[in-house]
């Protein structure tokens, strides 16, 4: 029986399955039996060898699969947004080229933070605003998008033929031109926003921050990917906010979102200003934990903020930065909260 245990452990060793305890057990067993641990090496060597597979046919099989899935045998199935871009076999290379072109336009004009570029798309276009920069984009239909730091927007050459559709990760402010024949969709990881003609802000970062859509004027319809039955209509100054529960694992089951609408005209104005402050080179936060304020600052200034004390993260703060640099911003924060910091290149340590 002990012999079998030895082989079980050796099997786990060569297939990389040993736990720490089992590893120690194996070493003990080998010692007990006076087995040279080096004798395992040959076995491991053989185990790591992969057999020669006939892979040359895979390419052929892939071609046959592509023709099958593009052949429209089932073009019916996809939900509303999904059937407008199936043909793009050579898309990857083309997309890369285009995005380099688009990217370099921005790069060369990056002195001006809000470089305006007319994007003429003939295939996939990807526009990225790196940390520390904002970009203004004019879509092929004339709609305008202001892309916040650390965000990416994509659209393809079918834009505007049936729908106007973009894919967003990060935050952007949209001013969509009215065109009821070609509804405008913003697709994010968790929700899809349908628009007729309006201005609104979408925030969908892959961080702890909530995922939000706020309407500045006009009307949008939001559907959540987890529950496509559920559609929420948002009117001017209303905001839909979704907990990014990837980061809040405990409240699984229920899909948690809330629609925040403000009643008085004054509140309304204030809420909108806060939400879209970034489009005017301002960072505004009200009753936000230090941690998410830091996330905003990291993207805005292209820095990394480290908390030396966990408890600092949850301190709530309200304030704004109006076109200040990172040093000034940190000094403003120091007026709100008592802390010291040290800045080493792009790393900021909060003490």
């Amino acid at each position: 029986m002990v012999d079998n245990r030895l082989y079980v452990l050796i099997g786990k060793k060569v297939s990389n399955e040993l736990t720490k305890e089992e590893h120690e057990e194996l070493i003990r067993l080998l010692q007990q039996k006076s087995i040279d641990p080096h004798s395992l090496e040959l076995l491991q060597e053989v185990w790591n060898k992969k057999s020669l597979e006939d892979t040359h046919l895979v390419e052929e099989k892939w071609k046959s699969l592509v023709s099958k899935i593009n052949n429209g045998d089932f073009a019916d199935a996809p939900p509303v947004l999904r059937n407008n871009k199936v043909k793009r076999l050579s898309g990857l290379i083309a997309a890369a080229l285009i995005s380099i072109v688009v990217f370099s336009i921005f790069f060369f004009s990056s002195e001006n933070k809000d470089a305006v570029a007319q994007v003429v798309a003939d295939t996939d276009s990807v526009i990225i605003a790196l940390k520390g920069e904002r970009k203004r984009i004019v879509l092929p239909d004339g709609s305008q998008v202001l892309l916040n730091s650390g965000s990416e927007i994509r659209f393809n050459n079918r834009f505007g033929i049936v729908y106007r559709e973009v894919f967003l990760s990060g935050e952007a402010f949209f001013e969509v031109l009215k065109d009821s024949l070609h509804p405008f969709f913003v697709n994010t990881d968790r929700m899809i926003i349908k628009v007729l003609g309006t201005a609104f802000n979408v925030k969908a970062y892959n961080t702890r921050e909530d995922i939000e859509t706020m309407v500045v004027h006009g009307k949008v319809e939001v559907s959540l990917k987890e529950d496509s039955e559920k559609k929420v209509i948002l009117l001017t100054s209303e905001k839909l906010s979704l907990k990014n529960e990837k980061f809040y694992r405990d409240d699984q089951q229920q899909l948690k979102y809330e629609v925040v609408s403000t009643r008085s005209a004054h509140q309304e104005q204030k809420a909108i200003q806060e939400e879209i402050a970034w489009t005017e080179e301002k960072i505004v936060f009200s009753d936000e934990p230090f941690e998410t304020v830091a996330l905003k600052m990291e993207r805005w200034y292209d820095v990394r903020i480290h908390f030396e004390e966990e408890s600092m993260k949850s301190i709530l703060m309200s304030g704004d930065f109006d076109n200040v640099d990172i040093q000034q911003a940190l000094q403003i924060l120091q007026m709100l909260v008592d802390f010291k910091y040290e800045m080493v290149n792009k790393d900021i340590y909060i003490k």
């Binding site: 012999d3 079998n4 030895l6 082989y7 079980v8 050796i10 099997g11 786990k12 060569v14 297939s15 399955e17 080998l30 039996k33 006076s34 087995i35 040279d36 004798s39 395992l40 090496e41 040959l42 076995l43 060597e45 053989v46 185990w47 060898k49 992969k50 057999s51 020669l52 597979e53 006939d54 892979t55 895979v58 390419e59 099989k61 892939w62 046959s64 699969l65 592509v66 099958k68 899935i69 089932f74 199935a77 996809p78 939900p79 999904r82 871009k85 199936v86 793009r88 076999l89 898309g91 990857l92 994509r154 894919f167 697709n187 990881d189 990917k225």
Partner: protein
């Protein structure tokens, strides 16, 4: 391909209908899945069809792709289920034919630069592998060639992780024997040191 890369490709397919990303997932998994299917249905043509169907169905339902947490296991389980359906539909005698899989392990080929593992040794290994009981050979193939974890294999074959351990142990014992690595033979103390 790391698990992270697979997840990112899954997302690209799901959110952006990205066919090149789908192609990479296909290329990466195709051969192993076809071999797995062939070991159950015992026909290369049927196996190819089954694997293709699985990928077509994934493409159809790509909007749900991000909900799949372990794509690799999902692929193997889908292939297994379709194989079972195929056998049942065609009046297979052995309903749960996973008991007698016909696994063909392609031979290991020696590398002239490799001084440690010579080609006679590999021939002996290949022969030993093909002499393993079918089920043991299947588990061995999934762990060694396809790089699946024990718990993934257990899930795919619907057996207990303990069974996987024992099957691998049996394979290792056999390999050790042909490699003349006799673990149970006590070595003189002098060779143990260093």
């Amino acid at each position: 391909m790391t698990a992270k890369e697979i997840i990112s490709l899954q997302q690209r397919v799901s959110l952006f209908d990205d066919q090149p990303a789908f192609g990479r997932l296909f290329n990466y998994h195709y051969t192993a899945l076809r071999q797995f299917a062939a070991s159950i249905v015992k026909s290369r043509e049927v196996a190819e069809e089954i694997v293709e169907d699985v990928f077509v169905s994934i493409w159809k339902n790509r909007s749900e792709l991000t909900a799949i947490s372990n794509f690799k296991v999902y692929l193997y389980v889908s292939v297994r289920n379709r194989c079972m359906n195929h056998i049942n539909r065609n009046g297979g005698k052995n309903l749960v034919s996973l008991d007698n899989p016909d696994v063909v392990c392609c031979g290991l080929v020696s590398d002239p630069e490799d001084i440690m593992v010579v080609s006679e040794m590999l021939q002996a290994v290949n022969k030993a592998v093909n002499d393993l009981p079918p089920r043991c050979r299947l588990v061995y193939k999934l762990a060694k060639e396809d790089g699946l974890q024990y718990k993934e294999i257990a899930e795919i074959l619907e057996i207990s992780p303990r069974t996987v351990e024992n099957q691998i142990a049996a394979a290792v014992k056999k390999l050790a024997a042909v490699l003349k690595v006799d673990f149970l033979l006590s070595l003189p103390v002098s060779t143990v040191k260093k």
